[in-house]
């Protein structure tokens, strides 16, 4: 296959970037998209040109590191991660446009590499159950109905890649945040802190500069792990009930 690539190149966060066009010839349809870029990069190095920087690690669709915006879709035309996209999905002679995730809360570091540390800070705000190592009950002392456990798992399958933000016209992180809020709100282990968790994670999300959710469901349509927007509904419910009954609100109202 012969492919024309239009790739976003940007030296660093302070420099203005732009598209550059490359010709990738002799592309095998068995290659993954990232392998096609590897081969292109080798040819660039041979010409003395700096290779295209992009994030990737496990290359088996689970670490969430790869993050290319291909032909107007996060992770490209299929509902997979970029690393699981293969060249047989494209046509010989096609022109493919490759961009980084575009969101204010994900500043560009270089070329196609963006800074997603905002996601970590949201998790640090409350995406956990406060238990120390040791001193926990026997695992089977907490029975959980299979249906609930499965639903919690569906939410927990999020890989934190940020495709939901990249897909959203508002660059909203609601799907990502709601996946963790949902997982822990569904499980008995998460009950003790569920109010504070919803409040704190939403507050952190807002402070990072992500946009609001307007229910377009683009996030769900593009999520490589099929995380459902039902989680957003569940988080909204958790959040409103927390706002109305949380300790902070009660104390604040009494003063």
């Amino acid at each position: 296959m012969n492919i024309t690539l239009k790739v976003w190149r940007q030296k660093n966060k302070d420099t203005k970037g732009g598209f550059k066009t490359y010709q990738a010839d002799h592309v095998s349809s068995d290659m993954s998209f990232l392998e096609m870029l590897d081969v292109l990069n080798t040819s660039l190095i041979k010409k003395g040109e700096e290779p295209i920087h992009f994030d990737h690690d496990c290359r088996e669709g689970i670490c969430g590191m790869c993050s290319l915006y291909i032909n107007g879709h996060p992770h490209g035309p299929l509902q997979t991660t970029t690393c699981q996209l293969h060249m047989r999905t494209f046509k010989d002679g096609e022109t493919i446009t490759v961009e980084p995730w575009r969101a204010k809360a994900f500043p560009i570091i270089k070329d196609l590499v963006v800074d997603r540390s905002a996601f970590d800070r949201i998790q640090q705000a409350g995406g956990y159950v406060s238990v120390n190592t040791g001193g926990v009950p026997d695992a089977n002392e907490i029975p959980i109905p299979k249906k609930i456990a499965d639903e919690a798992f569906d939410a927990a399958a999020c890989i934190g890649c940020g495709a939901c933000v990249a897909a959203c016209k508002n660059a909203s992180a609601m799907l990502f945040v709601s996946a963790k809020v949902s997982q822990l709100a569904l499980l008995p282990q998460g009950q003790a802190e569920k109010k504070e968790r919803a409040e704190k994670m939403v507050a952190q999300m807002d402070s990072e500069g992500f946009g609001s959710c307007t229910n377009t469901r683009a996030c769900e349509a593009e999520c490589p792990k099929g995380i459902s927007v039902t989680n957003i509904a569940r988080m909204n419910r958790e959040y409103f009930s927390a706002m109305m009954t949380s300790y902070e609100v009660v104390v604040g109202g009494g003063e």
Binding site: K11, D57, G64, D120, A156, Q183
Partner: protein, 641 residues
């Protein structure tokens, strides 16, 4: 140098309990006076950093990825073993211990392995309390399965994403400590050296991968939780970033490297499709429960999967069922891998490259119906189709073995401390618990055992003994020297401006390792490999081409440093494989086999763990042997006939 394992005396079942009592404690009010450095944030690193933060130590944690959640532990599929005996099927701590020692082909310490089995039960409790969504039965209790040929159902799992869910659990505990201010997290930061002063570990040198800034960090102890070195083979199931650099730099600062030649090769991976191949994808070995492995009886060059149906039943060789009637397709990983290679060596391999065998589900689909097979393996079948374009419901899969895990690693004692005081190694980075072969679902167990339940005790003892005043600041000349050395190396890599890319060197190293130090090894081949690797090293340092600068994100530069270390490690692996003239576990020496071609262990000569000492640039390393004593189990030869 005398290697002291520090395994406590006394009955096996009481060793850890007694040891914990004998370990010194740090007063709760004094814990904040100690600084601990944790490198790597996979299962071992994240669990250790979180647990130590909870105890009150000041922790600095480092990972080269953009978030601690990306560590390659996340990719583990199958499950985690624990001796809970929830199934009432005869499991016990002793049985898990016994299976692990035997599975490791009697090349691990009894004391360590027993402790691993003992704390395995606590891991499951801990993970459930964190909200890890393990599979459950309709009654709400935890589900188990038998894994990797085990006779009891002791494996806990979370669909095919057990590693992901366990890592996200440890990551959440780590996040809580970051929020509490007890752990300071450095992402996109790579460790490039260990600083040792007066025989004690005093800190590390790092490079900020975004700005290129080289920095020093001092601490009372350093924990390396940096994973395995499977990428020395270039193609492996490891993540692209997985590397040996932290362990290797520690090795060059005096830490012994244990059993480097012990690597695990997994039989059910998707075959290589061409020269562009960048990594290999593993499929869970549970596939062998229903899939039948075969090749044609006579060579059919380039046989495609969709043509498999044209080979009549009478012309098929179900070689595992033929050679191992009692275990059949469920023989252990090393046996299955080696036999697949033998078929391909005979020219009977299938696919465009001839380096693949069939894994056929047509009988299982006929017997159980497509729906049942879909329920069991649907996600794996989908993944296979995604990558290869072939539909395994209609034609057999093609599989080939791939490097998956490294049992070797930094030598550590019972306290997980290397021979350099204050320097620890946890998880896959150490050599300790799996001997010459790791059992399925035991890697996750070991990573979390080390981080949650061993290091919080053993580290306290070391810190209490040295005291909080025993610390060296980053203004010490040793830190300045180390920074200069790291800078010099970075500048050297950028200044060579040769003709070959880093990947070209890495591929070449990988091919040599795979050919001569892979599934089967012999003296002549290993000697050839040693010569080739030495030549490659010389060529690397005179002909590698690394573009760009050191003061920016430069992924070629990162790779170059890692590949340079892999080349040196490769030579040590070959030395270790040459020295171990026996077959054991994943290490098959062709000179040491039974008359019918099975692995032959030589217990009289080789019942030891090898521990190699670095002696300087281009000097041969010195071998130290830790004799292994077996007081509880009897050494037997494995047989799967």
């Amino acid at each position: 140098m005398k290697l002291e394992s520090k395994v406590p005396e006394g009955p096996l079942a009481e060793k850890w309990t007694k040891h914990k009592f004998n370990l010194k404690l740090v007063n709760p009010a004094n814990k904040r006076k100690y600084d601990v450095i944790v490198v790597g944030t996979g299962l071992a690193g994240a669990s250790a950093a979180a647990s130590l933060g909870e105890l009150g130590y000041n922790v600095k944690a480092f990972c080269f990825q953009d978030s601690p959640r990306r560590a390659h532990s996340i990719a583990a599929q199958g499950g985690i073993n624990a001796a809970k005996n929830y199934q009432n099927d005869g499991d016990s701590v002793y049985r898990l211990f016994y299976d692990t020692i035997k599975g490791g082909d009697y090349r691990a310490r009894e004391g360590n392995v027993y402790r691993l089995a003992e704390v395995s039960v606590n891991i499951i409790d801990q993970c459930v309390a964190q909200g890890v969504p393990f599979a459950r039965e309709y009654g709400g209790l935890l589900a188990n399965r038998s894994f990797g040929g085990a006779q009891v159902s002791r494996t806990f799992y979370a669909r095919g994403q057990t590693g992901q869910q366990l890592l996200l659990g440890a990551y959440s505990a780590l996040n809580r400590q970051i929020a509490n201010g007890k752990v300071k997290m450095y992402t996109r930061t790579e460790m490039l050296d260990v600083v040792v002063v007066d025989g004690k570990t005093r800190g590390i040198i790092t490079r900020d991968l975004v700005t290129g800034k080289i920095e020093s960090h001092s601490g009372h102890a350093v924990l390396l939780c940096t994973g395995g070195y499977g990428n020395v083979f270039y193609l492996s199931t490891n993540a692209k970033g997985s590397n040996v650099t932290a362990s290797w730099r520690a090795h060059k600062k005096g830490a012994l490297f244990g059993n480097p030649c012990f690597t695990q090769i997994h039989p059910t991976c998707i075959p290589v499709s061409g020269d562009h191949q960048s990594k290999l994808t593993l499929m869970s070995e549970s596939l062998r429960n229903d899939g039948r492995v075969w090749v044609p009886k006579t060579a059919h060059k380039g046989l495609k999967a969709k043509e498999a149906a044209s080979i009549p039943e009478s012309d098929r060789d179900y070689f595992l069922e033929r050679k191992y009637p009692s275990f059949g397709n469920l023989v252990p990983r090393d046996v299955a891998s080696r036999n697949a290679k033998m078929m391909c060596d005979e020219g009977r391999g299938v696919g465009a490259t001839g380096l693949a065998v069939f894994l056929d589900f047509s009988d299982a689909i006929k017997r159980d119906g497509r729906k049942t097979i879909e329920a069991k393996y649907g996600n794996l079948f989908d993944m296979y189709k995604q990558i290869t374009g072939d539909n395994p419901y209609e034609m057999p899969m093609m599989i080939f073995p791939a490097v998956h895990y490294t049992m070797g690693g930094l030598w550590v004692d019972y306290n997980l401390m290397t021979n350099v005081p204050g320097l620890y190694a946890l998880g896959e980075a150490n050599f300790s618990d799996h001997g010459a072969n790791r059992l399925g679902a035991s890697a996750l167990m070991q990573g979390l055992a080390d981080g949650y339940f061993v290091i919080p005790y053993t580290l306290g003892d070391y810190l209490a003994n040295i005291g909080w005043n025993d610390k060296v600041g980053t203004d010490h000349p040793a830190f300045k020297e180390a920074i200069e050395a790291v800078n010099a190396r970075v500048n050297k890599l950028l200044s060579i401006k040769g003709k070959k890319t880093v990947d070209e060197f890495h591929r070449e190293l990988g091919l040599t390792m795979w050919e001569y130090c892979g599934m089967s090894r012999n003296e002549a081949g290993l000697k050839t490999a040693k010569k080739k690797i030495q030549e490659l090293k010389a060529e690397f340092w005179s002909n590698v081409d690394v573009l760009g600068n050191s003061n920016e994100l430069n992924m070629e530069l990162e790779k170059a440093g890692r590949v340079a270390d892999f080349i040196e490690l490769g030579e040590l692996m070959v030395d270790d494989a040459l020295n171990r003239a026996e077959s054991c576990g994943g290490h098959f020496r062709e000179e040491s086999q039974t008359p019918d071609g099975e692995a032959l262990r030589k217990d009289d000569e080789f019942t030891f763990a090898s521990a190699w000492e670095y002696k300087g640039e281009n000097q041969p390393e010195e071998l130290h042997k830790e004799e292994l004593r077996f007081e509880n189990v009897k050494l037997t030869q494995r047989s799967y006939k």
